[in-house]
Every structure is written in structure tokens, then in C-alpha cells.
Symmetry: D2
């Protein structure tokens, strides 16, 4: 870490700062320039509170050279993390396709979708039981009953399941859940992250609407610091000024996160765009960009003409898309070979 100290800092102030830093076990080396004094820190600066240092009056700026995350950092773990989910793998060249409805509605619905997406080659089933809704008056999900129905679909199809947790207190109900999802709104619910760090179960961590890459990795670090190293990162769109799409899918997240971290990175083309007609092109793009997986909304309600919503694919559309994704993966794997 490099600290730029303003020229107007007094010797007393600089001495005070150095004492405080050496007191924390850092080695220091100084370099006095014309415009600023430069203070280099030697030691593990991930423990140091950079905001506190930056907030000091005599400090012009602070520049980390080491990233503040260690467990999630590719520098210290050059090899891709491979996570095993009931026999399916993600990371290190293994691609995972997750599919399923936005919300679990009925046993018929979730089982039918599960059968259809399994037949198309999906590796895993998604479905919301606890639903984060902007309005307290909106449907909040089937909750515990939704988890039970997911288990039924899992038993019937053999597909492992992923679903979202919204509060620590719901954890006891998640035993049969294979991957626990932390939604974008809870990406910085640090108490929840710490609790999930105690588990030895994969966590699907979604990027918050306003979160930087580093903030996402720091949230992964919260989980990993507790000993749970099975974190899957998920880009699901950031908030921008455009209103045509629901959010802005920041596809650069794939190569950037994979460069900074060894953790697998997946894309959610359904929630990020909010439009079914964008799911296919963005899924193919994600595969071509090197993503480790996709999580795609698929809804099945053939009896109801209305229910082919703007965001969800039909099972047929998913089936076509899945085959195209596989071909793109075959091709791009040949590039790195």
C-alpha cells in the first residue's frame, strides 16, 4: 500500500501516523518528493482500514497495490476453483446451466418445469420460495412450502436445487437445498454472509445493483473468511439510466472477475435484461465471453396464453437455446485448447 501525504503535513503529524502504522506491525519506507511524501507499507494490508487512512486530513490519497481480498484472490490461488454440486461441476472448464421458474407456484408447475429443463440438459433447477418484493402487498413467495415443493421436484428429477435465502432465521429450512442463493439486495447483508461462511455448502452470490467488482469480491471474502470456499459469483445487471432493459448487464464481469478471482462466474440473462427476447443473445454472448454458467428463467404454462411473460423462456425456447449454448462452448473450448 502506498500513502501519499500532503506537503502541508507537519513532521508531528507524519510521526504520529508512522507510529500508529508501525504499532500495527507494518514496515514503512518513506520517499520525500517535491509535491508529496510517499509512504510505502510493507505487510498484510488487508487488515488495514483504508477508508480511515484516506479520511485523514494529511493524506492526499491511498493506493492499494495488493487487493483487499485474499481468499477470493487469484494471485494466491492461481487455479480455478471447481465446485461439485451433487455430482455436477462448475469452474475449471465445467459449465453449469441452471434453469427454472421465477417463483415456485404449485407442485405441478415446478415438477413440470424441472422435467422439461432436465430433458433439455439443464444441470440444476432454480425457483424462488422466499421472494424479495419491493412491495409489502405483493406475493412474498410460498416460503417454507415453496422449499418443500422444490424438494419434491428434486426427488422426482434428480436435479439439484438452488433458491434464495432472505434472512438467517430461514437457514434451518435450507437443509435439502444444494446451493443457497444470496440475492442482489442482500449482497452486503454482512451478518447473513458471515453465517453462510459457517456452512460447507455452495453459495450463489449475486452482484448488487450498485456494487463494484471489488465490493462483490469482498462479500465473497466474508463467506470465505468463515471457511466456506464454495462461492459462485453471479452478474445479474447493474442499475443504469436506460429504461428499455430492466438493468444493464455488465458482461465484462466475466473476464474481469475471472482474472481477479479463481471463483466461478455465472450470468443471469433473465433478471438483468428483464426481457425474454434478450435472453438468447446474451446467453450466447456469456458463453463466448468465458462464463462458467448461466441461470435462466424458464416458465411453463401451456394452458395460459398470458403466461409467456416477457422475462421467462418457454421450455421449447430453452431447449433450442441450450443446444446453441453447447455448440458455442464446444467452439470456445477449442480456442483455449
Amino acid at each position: 500500500m502506498v500513502i501519499l501525504i500532503k506537503n502541508e503535513a507537519t513532521d508531528d503529524q507524519i510521526r504520529y501516523l508512522s507510529d500508529w502504522l508501525t504499532g500495527q506491525g507494518f514496515g514503512l519506507h518513506f520517499s520525500k518528493g517535491e509535491e508529496a511524501t510517499i509512504l510505502g507499507l510493507v505487510g498484510d494490508t488487508s487488515r488495514l482500514d483504508i477508508d480511515l487512512v484516506r479520511a485523514l486530513d494529511i493524506v492526499e490519497d491511498v493506493k492499494r497495490i495488493q487487493e483487499p481480498y485474499k481468499n477470493a484472490n487469484r494471485k494466491f490461488h492461481p487455479l480455478d476453483t471447481v465446485i461439485d454440486i451433487a455430482g455436477r461441476k462448475i469452474g475449471g472448464g465445467h459449465f453449469l446451466t441452471i434453469a427454472g421458474p421465477c417463483s415456485v407456484e404449485t407442485e405441478e408447475q415446478i415438477c413440470e418445469v424441472a422435467r422439461r429443463v432436465k430433458a433439455s440438459g439443464a444441470d440444476m433447477l432454480r425457483g424462488g420460495a422466499f421472494k424479495p418484493r419491493t412491495s409489502p402487498y405483493a406475493f412474498q413467495g410460498l416460503r417454507e412450502e415453496g422449499l418443500r415443493l422444490l424438494s419434491v421436484a428434486k426427488k422426482e428429477t434428480g436435479l439439484p436445487i438452488v433458491t434464495e435465502i432472505m434472512d438467517i432465521s430461514q437457514l434451518p429450512n435450507f437443509e435439502d437445498v444444494d446451493v443457497i442463493q444470496v440475492g442482489a439486495r442482500n449482497m452486503q447483508n454482512f451478518e447473513l454472509l458471515k453465517e453462510l461462511g459457517m456452512l460447507r455448502k455452495p453459495i450463489l452470490l449475486k452482484r448488487g445493483l450498485m456494487a463494484t467488482f471489488e465490493e462483490l469480491l469482498m462479500s465473497a471474502e466474508y463467506i470465505m473468511a468463515g471457511g466456506n470456499e464454495q462461492v459462485i459469483l453471479c452478474e445479474r445487471g447493474i442499475r443504469g439510466f436506460e429504461t428499455y432493459t430492466r438493468n444493464v448487464l455488465d458482461l465484462c464481469a466475466v473476464p474481469v472477475l475471472k482474472k481477479l478471482s479463481h471463483l466461478p462466474v455465472i450470468i443471469d440473462p433473465s433478471h438483468s435484461t428483464g426481457r425474454a427476447d434478450l435472453v438468447a443473445p446474451m446467453s450466447l454472448a456469456a458463453a463466448a465471453a468465458g462464463a462458467d454458467g448461466l441461470i435462466i428463467e424458464v416458465h411453463n404454462n401451456p394452458a395460459k396464453a398470458l403466461c409467456d411473460g416477457k422475462q421467462s423462456l418457454t421450455p421449447d425456447a430453452f431447449d433450442r437455446l441450450k443446444r446453441q449454448i453447447d455448440q458455442v462452448l464446444d467452439l470456445t473450448r477449442s480456442f483455449s485448447a
Copy 2:
């Protein structure tokens, strides 16, 4: 609510939609134009899931005319809500000044700051016990011990206290806390909001970095739907592209939120700007714009030359500012008189 239906919708689809809506108790009236069919809904549409309707293939757009929040809505509660906090009032012309350090550090620190800001006329003491930190390795606050020290400062000075909660499980420790703060990162932690709705204690709800005004009001609605009507809204900056200030203080929040809602609105000039030199001008601006209060970071560490941080005011600077704020309030009250 007005639903625009695409011209390509079939009669069957439209009939299906109308049946679904009338089945939920809404009255409908149709108007067929050249470009679209317009469907007007009569009834309490706050229960209706607007995203679901918007997601339908045959729907061009949905336009709410009634806002989706009721308890927080000024239309149904034209008079300002006035909240009483241990004898201090906020709202309806009552201005509340909250001051204190970012984190509670020691008994000496919190009591000294409490004494100083009380002497300057602050109405209430702030101080973080549970600290939401981006990094798991950063200081996470004194937690329960921090709450205890706040109680000591409260007893000594008589100032009521506000501090942040991060998880439902911490609630039992908050008995002596006069106002419970929900931080920006937890603005859409809906399970927490529901729990706070069960209390009969004022909640200070901070706007999330990515939240629209409507989303903030919907989060207030979560609390109010549970019966707790004592919600104070707080603008503390939204995330933008500028890096000079920490966030973008959206001061329009004051007149906008006060127009849409009867709840009191306060400004946090310290966290939003992240720079002590901007706290005074933005505090005066907030007062001139009609805010109901301010929450200002004040730190006291006369022995340490370093600790006059970029974000916190010294007690002396706060003292000067408090007198200027009072003069601005005197003047602007004369405008509305």
C-alpha cells in the same frame, strides 16, 4: 391503473386477462384506440403485482396513477407526521439535529462527544455499534459493548440515541435505543423491515445507494404495514460516476419525499459527501430546502492531530454550524408563515 394492450393481442388473450383481473375484484373499463386498447382498473391496485402485469406479452405498458404505497402516502394523510423522541419532536415544522461519531470507540469518547454536541444544541446522539464494513477484516464495531456505551452517554447527557441494526437477531439489545437506524445496505432487507414493523419505536430508514424515491417509500411501507408508523426517511447519497465526493447527495429528495409522503425527511451530509468541508454548505442547503432534520458526524479527539478526519466535524465546527442552521431555519420558517 391503466394498462396499454398491444394491438396484436387476440380477443382470447384479452378476455383471459380481464377474467384474471375481475377475479381479483377489480372493476374494468375498456377503450379501444387505433394503436392500442386501453384498460382502466378501478379498485385498490396497491395489491396488484405491477411487474407481473407488465411482463405479459400482450401488455405494452402499465401506468400506475395511484402510488403503490398507502400508509406512507401524503394523499391519504395530508398532515405531516410528527414523531416524538423522548420529548424531542421531528416533522410538522419541528427540526431535529442528530450528531455524534461514526463509531463508538470508548466511554470517554462517546460521553465527551455527547456532552459537546448537547452543549451546541444537538437534539440526539448518534454512534455506530454494529458497523457494516465492506471488508470482513475491518473493525466491525464494538457491537453489544457499543450499545452499552451509548446508554452510558444517554444517561449522562439525557440525549436520546440512534444507532444501526444489522440483523433481526440483534433486536433484543436495542431496548434502550430510542431510534433504530436501518442502513442503506439494508433498505431492502425485507425480513428485517417486517420485524421492525412490529415495534412501536421510531425507525430511521436510510435510502439505498441505488434506490428510487418510490423504492424508499415502499420500504417505509413495509414497516408501516406492520403498524409502526414512526418512520423517518433519510437521504444519504446515491451512487454515481463522480469520484471526488463519496456519493451524490440528491437534495431534491427533501421536497420530493415531502410532497409524496407525510413522513419526516432528514439529510446525512457526512456520509453522502464523505468530506468534512462539504458538511456545512450541504447542511445549510438542506435546511433551506425544507428538511426536517440533519444527522451529522462529529468526532472529538483533541489529543490526536490526525483524527480530524475528512468526514467528521470537530465539536467546534459543529457548534458554529449549528448556530447557522438555526438562523436559516428561522428565516425559512418565516417564508411559509
Copy 3:
């Protein structure tokens, strides 16, 4: 167009508004609901000033059903526009790869890069002569001399050239330029757009850092309204809060713009990301998402170890990438076949 009129509007106000609208030749039909009166407009509303209508006190909201652009609108021109650039085609299944250095520096440099990218299969040469620079003290490009060097490279390699114009007054120098580029900062330089509409030469129109899709299409409409229908749209990143990449590459621009418009859409992975290591994954993603072309920075300076900049590819890296792009295109073309 549908206008929602507030319930508090008086009959006089509504009559005044209707008279004003019928006076402009629109047919009207009214529908009075409980919460609002709905006014449907029949006629060509692209001439109507929607902001003016929306600004009226009695208007709750205005909803366009027809898009405000006509020439650029796919609804009125269902077939892809195909643009011919000195024998190379773009649009309608034709993919165009543009490559070259950020700035034209010397005759040796531009000719060498031109030869190399041509050998790799590039269709066209790019290179900046007039450079928009944030600082007045930074290198502003070789200007007229830069255009001359581009012509030399064109003559030598046969590659058509594209370069940026910054002001109408520079136009006489652009005779030998095959495609004139309008940079992101000038996307709403309407006087310039009008002038370019008088030409019969392809225009490469870059999306502004803050521009919505509709605003980009309206700027294309400025050019097309003058009779110049050869507009190529280019996504080059929008401004966001992330600082790791220079901008946020909004790859959804490809399917969205191609749905809304018949104009070809290309991606600039170099300027949007600002990092050479992201150019390859984002180029492959763009091809997979259905883009009609790419504009890629390639720099050649083997003698200078420094000059392998963060944003530009070396000719060798471009060569590898070009072959991968071609394979992705072969595959994705088989999907639509």
C-alpha cells in the same frame, strides 16, 4: 400516443388542450375513467413535442406507442439495411471488421498497421486524425496531416478508411474518407448531424456516454432526415460507477438496437473497456450476440517495449482474435439458418 389527464383538470383546460392538438391535425378520442381522463391521439405523432405536452400542469403522463423515429425504425423498414463501403458490406448478415491505431502518428506506423490488419482479414482501417481530448494541453492529433497519411495507407493497402470528424468546418478534408465517424461526445451535436445528413456517405455514429437507445436512434434520425440513410450505430460503453473498466460495455445494445432499427450495429470493445485483455472476450461475445461488426484498436510498435498499451492489441493478438471471431460467426450464422 396516449395522454393521461389529471382528474383535477377543468373542462376549460381540457378543451384548450384538445383545440391545440386538433389544430395540429391530430384526431382525438377521449375515455373518462375514475382516476384520469385518457386522451388518445391519432396521426403522425413524431412531429409532436412530447416534452411540451408532458410539462403541462394538467397532464399526468404521456405514453408514446409509436416510436418517435421513422427512418431508423424497423417497423417501417423490416429488412436490414446493407451498406456498401468500397465493395465491403455491412448489415443483413454481412460482418465488418475495422481495425487500426487510436491515433495516426506517422506514415510508417499507419501503413504498417494497415498492412498487418489487412493480412489478418480486416475489412477497413481506422485511425484518429482529429482527436477529442479532455485536456487542451494533450496531443490533439495530426489533423489534416493525419487525414493525408490515412489516404496514403488506403492507397497502399486498398482498405477503406474511417476517421472521426469534430466540427462541420473540417468536412472539406474528408473527401477521401470512406466512413465518417461521429464520436460519443458529438452524438448530440445536432448541427453537425444535420450537415452529415446532406452527404451520401456512410456515417459511423457512436452512442454517447449518457445516451439512451432512443436518443441514439433519434440522432441517427437527424442524419437520415436529411436523406443520408447510411448510418452505422456503434456501442462504445456508457458511463457507470465501476472504475476497473473505463466504461460499461452495454452489449444488450446489439439485440435491442437491431430489434428497434434496421441499421447495422457494431461494437467497440477497445474504448468501452479500456483494457486490451478484455478486447478478445468482448469481441467474441459481440459476435455471438449478433453484432454486424467490430471496431478494434491495433497498435504496432515492435521497437518500443512500452507501446503494447493496455487498450490496443498487437497485430499478432488481432490476428488470433480475427480467426476466432470468424469461427463464432460461422457457428452463429448456422443458428439462424
Copy 4:
């Protein structure tokens, strides 16, 4: 300027970089740390292309310590710039109130508004002649005729006038215009800025919707580098995700820009918010925050009930507001006294 060089840089690369920098006349001093080599530059770095340096492979980061603007920089010009506009002053404690309609429509309209705002104490008249419109089909302003009508109003009332230029070619028509406005969309139209730098007439430079403070100051620097030091900076809202207001008024611009620069700073509460009901609170807030002026839309059309638009004040509302602004200014001047 401080350049952080990666540890993996070879001695050859570092030598190449140092030679290149010393060749440009900079003094260098090196400091080799554990994680990075730090290179301090001595000399006038405003000429140096920071993006070029940052783009080098061996460079980890570049940190300017001196701002890249000199003429606009308060460090080199500690005293406030005071600009004289036909006898009215702005800056250095002088507050300037500009008022008038969005567009010049007729001689009656502009003269009537001019008379009314003058009677209320406005210092200057605004009114658009050349109008930047998103749509080519929208009213583009009265153009030259609009300028003529502004001159009539100026002659009649004695109020100096400000109006927007959109292209260099329009400049000959601006002789009678007292202050030339550069709109947000043209903030980085560098050719135009250079041309305006040749004049000796005040320029009102509006911040672009996506421009940082530094970018705004660099655009001012373009004008000042040509010798025209009379630049007035104007905050008029930045683009954000909120749709209730048209833009996000970043009121921190006032203290920030006044700290970084000696140039006067004004606020446009009309365009930034897009809502007349927000103009008064934001105007008072701007005055309290230390702005040097305001530019407010005032429209007069008593015969037409419709024309009390959402963004413009009536002359009566402006009159009330003007008196309140004056009282806030009286008060806040007493603070600094």
C-alpha cells in the same frame, strides 16, 4: 505526478519509460518498494498525457497530485474571479439572477417576460434561440430571428442577455449577446470551446450530463487557454437512475467547484429537476450552499391556462422566490463576514 510501476517491469522497460519522460523535460526520482517502484515526476505535468502513461503495460497506476487545469485552478488564482456583464457582476460575493423563458417565441412574449423579471430584480434575461432538440422533427427554435427578438427585449429593458450557441458557424450572430451559453451536450465540443476561447466575452459553460467536475474544469480550461478568462460554470443536473426528476441536481458542485476553481458557479434548478415545484426549494438551497447565481425558467402566458408548465415558474412565483433568495443571501453573507 506519481507513477506506480509494476514489479514485473524489466529494467529495460523502466529505462525506456524514464528516457521518454526526461526527454519531455521532466525531472524524475525513483523509490523502489516491495510491491512497486514509485516514480515521482517533477515539472509541469499538465502537458503530459496521463491516459497514455496509464495505458502502458508496466504501469500499475498514475496519480496526479497537481490538477491538470491551470488557468481554472484556485491554487494558482486564490482570489475569486469577478465577471462584469454590462455593469452587473458575478463572483467574489456578487450574486447574479438570470431569468427568462425556455424558448424565445414572439416579441410580445420575450419582452413581457423581460419586463416582469426585471421588475422582480432579475439581473439578466435568458431565452433559447437555437434549441438543441433530441428529435429532428421538434421545434428547433427561432434561430437568427430569436436572437433578434432577444436584442429587442434587451433594448427595451436594459437587461443583458444570455443564449445558447450550437455551432461555430452561428458565432457572427452573437455580437449583441452578452453571455454565450454552451449547453450540456456541447460541453466537450472542443472545437467550439477553442473558438470561444478567442473571444473576450463571458461564456456560461454547462456541465454535461455525464461529466465529472474535473472534466467540466478541463472544458473551462479549453476556453481559458485561448485567453478568454470569463467563464461561468453551471451545474444543471447529471443523469441518474431516478425518473421522478428529470436529472439529479448535484448541489455539491457549488462548494466543490468553488474550492477547486476561482470561477463563479451557478445553478440551473429548472432544467436539472424538470419540475416547477422543485425550483423554489432548490434555488434557496443553492443560495444557502454558496452559489454565485441562478438561472431560472420563467414563462408568461396569462391567457393560456395550459402554459403554466411543470418546469417554468410564473412571473408571480418568480417574484416571491426572488425576495426569498435575497433574504437567504443576506443571511449567509453574514456568516462569512
